[in-house]
């Protein structure tokens, strides 16, 4: 092995922040609303059933508090979908993938392809109906908390997966 340690001036270092991020598919917002809608329908039906069948719970102020909390939750959900959706962006560079998300608390994930262990294509029933899929990327540092880019077009997700798999194979080949 040869010892090499070239000096890189700060200007030469590629800047991740200069990359233009692209948004996920607009129709994904609809999928998000449908998912949340289903979740809230189940929750509300459960609560209504509780208040109808359990007599001691039928207190006016309790019902008011539960209703208000629920309204607040729905409001926060709508806000997070609306604002958070704008921040769901991603970008592909030659050697890594970047994904940004979050409403109040924003996080930017960057995973170099050389460290990717495997990559999965996931699609749920509602997303599939709208032709959407998501990509899940795992590294050795992951405990199921790595990047998952949701709301991609099925074809884009497939291409992305093929691209990443090619990269992994190329790096593995290099190591051998």
């Amino acid at each position: 092995m040869k010892y090499e340690n070239h000096f890189i001036s700060p200007e030469e270092i590629p800047k991740y922040a200069n990359v233009t991020l692209q948004p996920v598919e607009a129709v994904y917002k609809k999928v998000l609303y449908i998912n949340w809608g289903i979740a809230y329908t189940i929750l509300i039906s459960l609560l209504i059933a509780l208040f109808i069948f359990i007599k001691p719970l039928q207190i006016d102020w309790l019902i008011a508090i539960v209703a208000l909390t629920l309204l607040l939750l729905i409001f926060i959900t709508i806000a997070s979908v609306e604002i958070g959706f704008k921040n769901k962006t991603w970008a592909l560079r030659d050697k890594d993938i970047q994904f940004k998300k979050g409403w109040l608390f924003q996080t930017t994930h960057i995973i170099p392809f050389v460290k990717v262990q495997h990559c999965e294509l996931v699609s749920g029933p509602i997303g599939r109906k709208y032709g959407l899929a998501s990509i899940k990327i795992n590294t050795a540092a992951s405990n199921d908390i790595d990047i998952s880019i949701k709301g991609l077009k099925q074809e884009t997700a497939e291409q992305l997966k093929a691209f990443i798999m090619d990269k992994i194979e190329a790096y593995e080949h290099q190591q051998i």
């Binding site: 922040a17 890594d96 924003q106 994930h109 960057i110 995973i111 262990q117 050795a140």
Partner: protein, 489 residues
């Protein structure tokens, strides 16, 4: 070059000693059940003789049978267990009803751990644990195998690891040998508060066990005794000194168990470690599997010049303390020698230190400690106003520790490495080579964005490093630098 006299392409069996371990495990697993059965019989005899006990006993016997069946599987496994090396793969087969075959590519082996307890010593065997890297760390465990075979497979696996750049270290040099005097120093400088809490937790858990076993609550008797006792200053003092004595004694035993006769030798692949009092353990630490290193000391250890060095390995289970590779280092020079194969240039030696933003010192206090203090104080006020002092003191302590945490947090970095120093009452130093990073995260909150700050998380296959509240430009630069190291080297 191989000096191995065993042909590992031929499947090797377990040593017959393993059977003793399997039987031991059955007894160990079943003793609570046996005890419960005996306890039930005695209690039933005493309480009411007419009650039909047979149903209960059959039920218990049924469970015992079930446990036995699962162990029979283990017994069968003993006879069918085979380990061999097939080309570049380590193959372990076993099982009768559900056959199992584990194949591990040898270059994925992270460490080979040899364990020798007294039974192994008597029978000239070793237990082997083979840890591999990967997201769901596969582990091969060999309960007992002939000593020569164990050493032979360890050296075989070690030799298959690609050489690191350490050419200057001769064949095998011993660099650490912990003496008895060192053990005393380590015991004195242990974290006695932690030991005390461990004793309390242990005692409490045992009390609960006793309660379940004998069926009555011993805590009532203790309460009664405590109420009857008269508290005098001398009584409290003697209680405290007994507590201190027990704590010191336990610390001493813990240190002896952990570090007794620790030996570390270095070769060109990594370090070979050996330690243990009742059971001797040998672990091979392969240099290029080290993700990051950290060393820490408390106030007393700093005075004595001791630090505890820890290697974070790839795929290591952070929650399992038994897997941690940590060793006491008795002087600074040795510390440097041990770390240098990972990184010889510490950024703190030739670069300027950086600090986090001052908000890191007070924001957690303001956001979490104060609201909890206010809420709990209001509730406590209506109960007994004097008790407010308790949350108040706790909050002051937390506020001070948050501030100290901010003051102590420093970091340095050069083109290849980042070094972090942090701590509250002690100091921990972390050294991370950027090329070990797997995943980078930049986090912001509305407050951080307003102040143009960000928190950077550098995830490795061993541990995550967090650099909180630094300027967004610096955060971006750190991320770019990390990525360059990973992607272009």
């Amino acid at each position: 070059m191989s000096t191995n006299k065993f042909d590992w392409s031929v499947p090797q069996r377990l040593s017959p000693v393993a059977l003793i371990f399997i039987l031991g495990k059955i007894i160990k697993d079943s003793w609570p059940l046996v005890l419960i059965v005996i306890g039930r019989i005695i209690i039933n005899d005493q309480n009411d003789e007419k009650r039909n006990t047979s149903v209960g006993i059959y039920f218990i016997l049924g469970i015992a049978l079930l446990i036995l069946i699962t162990h029979i599987n283990q017994l069968i496994n003993f006879f069918l267990f085979r380990i061999r090396i097939n080309g570049a793969e380590l193959v372990v087969t076993g099982g009768l009803l559900s056959k199992s075959k584990t194949i591990v590519p040898i270059n994925r082996v992270q460490s080979v751990h040899l364990i020798e307890n007294y039974l192994h010593k008597l029978t000239n065997t070793y237990a082997i644990k083979i840890e591999t890297a990967g997201s769901d760390a596969t582990e091969i465990e060999v309960k007992a195998i002939n000593k020569e075979k164990a050493l032979s497979i360890q050296s075989l696996l070690q030799n298959s690891v690609p050489e690191t750049s350490q050419k200057n270290i001769p064949e095998q040099v011993q660099i650490i040998g912990i003496q008895f005097a060192d053990v005393i120093k380590l015991a004195i400088s242990e974290n006695h508060i932690r030991t005390f809490l461990i004793i309390i937790a242990f005692a409490y858990a045992r009390l609960d066990d006793v309660k379940q076993l004998i069926g009555f609550d011993a805590s009532e008797i203790i309460d009664q005794q405590v109420n009857n006792a008269r508290f005098s200053i001398s009584g409290v003092l003697s209680l405290l000194s007994i507590g201190l004595f027990i704590t010191m004694w336990v610390s001493f035993i813990r240190v002896i168990l952990r570090y007794h006769e620790m030996k570390i030798s270095a070769n060109n692949k990594g370090f070979q470690m050996e330690w243990g009092f009742l059971q001797t353990q040998q672990k091979m630490l392969i240099q290029n599997k080290v993700q990051l290193v950290s060393w820490n000391y408390n106030f007393v250890r700093k005075l004595l010049g001791i630090s505890i060095l820890r290697f974070f390995m790839m795929g290591e289970n952070i929650t399992q303390t038994k897997q941690h590779i940590q060793l006491p280092v008795m002087d600074q020079h040795l510390l440097y020698q041990l770390i240098s194969p990972y990184q010889a240039v510490w950024p703190s030696s030739n670069t300027q230190s950086n600090s986090t933003h001052i908000a890191y010192g007070w924001r957690n206090t303001l956001l979490f400690v104060l609201p909890i203090l206010l809420a709990s104080s209001t509730a406590i006020y209506f109960w007994n106003p004097w008790y407010i002092l308790l949350p108040l003191f706790l909050s002051i302590y937390l506020a001070i520790s948050n501030w100290v945490k901010y003051q102590k947090f420093k970091y340095w970095f050069n083109e290849n490495t980042i070094q972090i120093q942090k701590g509250i009452w002690g100091v921990e130093n972390i050294l991370l080579n950027f090329n070990k990073i797997q995943h980078v995260i930049v986090k912001t909150s509305p407050f951080l964005r307003r102040k143009k700050l960000a928190t950077v998380e550098l995830r490795t296959a061993g541990e995550t490093i967090v650099i909180p509240y630094i300027s967004i430009e610096q955060a971006q630069y750190l991320v770019d630098l990390s990525l360059v190291n990973v992607e272009f080297h």
